[in-house]
Amino acid sequence: MKTLPLQAVPKGHASRPTGYSQGLVLLVDDDEGIREVLQEIIQLFGFSCKTAENAVDSLRILGKERFDLMITDIKMPSMDGMALLREAKRKYPDLDIIMITGFSTDYSFNDVVIAGASDIITKPINLEEIEAKINRVIRERYLRKELEQKNLQLRSYLEDLQLTKDRLEEQARKLVGAVSEIEKANTVIERQNQKILKANWELEKADKMKSTFLATVSHELRTPLNSIIGFLGLVLDDLCESKEEEKTLLGDALNSSKNLLFLINNMLDLAKIEAGKVDIILERLDLQEILEEVASLLSIQAKQKNLYLTQKSDKVPPVYADRGKVWQILNNLLGNAIKYTEHGGIEIKAGVCGSEFVEIEVKDSGIGVPVEQKKRIFERFVQADRDYTRKQMGTGLGLVITKSLVEMMGGTIRLESEGEGRGSQVFFTLPLYREEQDVEETSGERCFVGFQE
């Protein structure tokens, strides 16, 4: 038995830091005596310890179990400790290895450390040193493992965080998308609200207009009825002073009845226009001929009031329009002109206007139209804010109908007047007849035109 190169005996202080599990140590030494003593000591420190007597043996044992630490002599026959260190580190990089070196070795400390040793113990072996070094290596090993564990955990946390982050980003993206969808939807809703508000406002306006219309209609029908009923009553009750007066009153009642009929017809016409139930039959019309016919017919009425009615145009080109409606328009306009003219007379003129229209002008020297009413004269029910200073219908309705008819045939109408007492001019246009319309003309083009606001 060789003398142990020991300097001190272990003194019961071989407790390991709490919290470490039992470490497993492989002790490699070719000297059986040293092996036995060191094994005992290491076990005394609290570690499990197995032994091997050479490098080959030790590599075999390392292959069977997981060791925490190998303590090996550097000087051994055949394969030396350095070769073992390198081979073991190659196979088990995780294994801690403490090298025991003597005074005469071929390797420097640096060589040993570079080769991967965790520590070096020099002979003669000091027990406190070996205990401290084993403890330090084991502790560092555990700390390292813990650290690795924590690192793994952290990495996994990090991965989780990354996943969460990705999910959040995805959700954020979706939210942004959803927000923009909502904003879009809001815009649509907002726009629809606006439309509803507008429609509502228009309905209210239409409703108001209808009420005004009803009130006006009621008023206009009642007015001639009052004189009709009144005059008939006077005649029936024999309250006339003479036969002549009786006749006059009956004639007045008849005229009022005719006015009433005219009014009712106008209102029916307007109702038809409003309901879009007016048939327009477009065809080639000899406007010159129509103007002459209308003028000669109405000049009788004009003569009764000592007014002249002259038709001044010549060779007016044909138009593409509805015969009956053109008659109605001219009749309305000339009728108004005669009605509102006391001195002078009425002129009709027509001529080509641009490349597509003929413009017809009806000019009178009558009472004219106040400037502020020029625009409103073609409006239907007049303003909602009703005052009672004006008869709102009568001829007014006729102009509304006239305007609608002109527009249904593709024309426009306007009124010019220098003011009250200074006469007025109404201009309206009708589309020129063109050759290519011949094809459509066979039986006249039938349009079903609604009234445009």
């Binding site: 009621s218 007015t223 009052n226 004189s227 009923i229 005229n255 009672y388 004006r390």
Partner: protein, 131 residues
């Protein structure tokens, strides 16, 4: 002496009807006018006993502005000397609520809707207002 009634009416046929009816059925003296200056003069100095006033007027101006029968009634009622003259609104405006609105707005004393179906009732209304 016959009571003097002023008829303010813009429709010539209606004016004629009121004039004849008041004269023949009520033996009143009748003045027909729609001229505001003349109306305001007559109510102060013309010993007018009553006014039959149309509401829709088309040819009556006051201070250059067109006035209706409601405004005209207000103007008449403003005059100390004319305040006591009863005004009967005679109108073809006969929609629901118009009677109340007209009377309130004009300060007039009575309301008659056109057409006048029963002339005797009209004359009675006039006499009631004159009483």
């Amino acid at each position: 002496m016959a009571k003097k009634i002023m008829v303010v009416e813009d429709d010539p046929m209606n004016a004629k009807f009121f004039e004849l009816t008041l004269k023949r059925r009520g033996n009143f003296e009748v003045i027909v006018t729609e001229d505001v200056d003349q109306i305001l003069h007559l109510v102060r100095h013309g010993s007018i006993d009553m006014i039959v006033m149309d509401v829709s007027l088309s040819n009556s101006y006051y201070d250059g502005e067109r006035v209706d029968g409601l405004t005209l009634s207000q103007l008449i009622k403003k005059h100390e000397s004319a305040r006591e003259i009863p005004i009967l609104l005679a109108t073809a405006h006969a929609m629901k609520g118009e009677q109340e609105m007209f009377l309130k707005k004009s300060g007039a004393d009575g309301y008659l809707s056109k057409p006048v179906i029963d002339p005797n009732e009209f004359i009675k209304k006039v006499n009631d207002l004159l009483a």
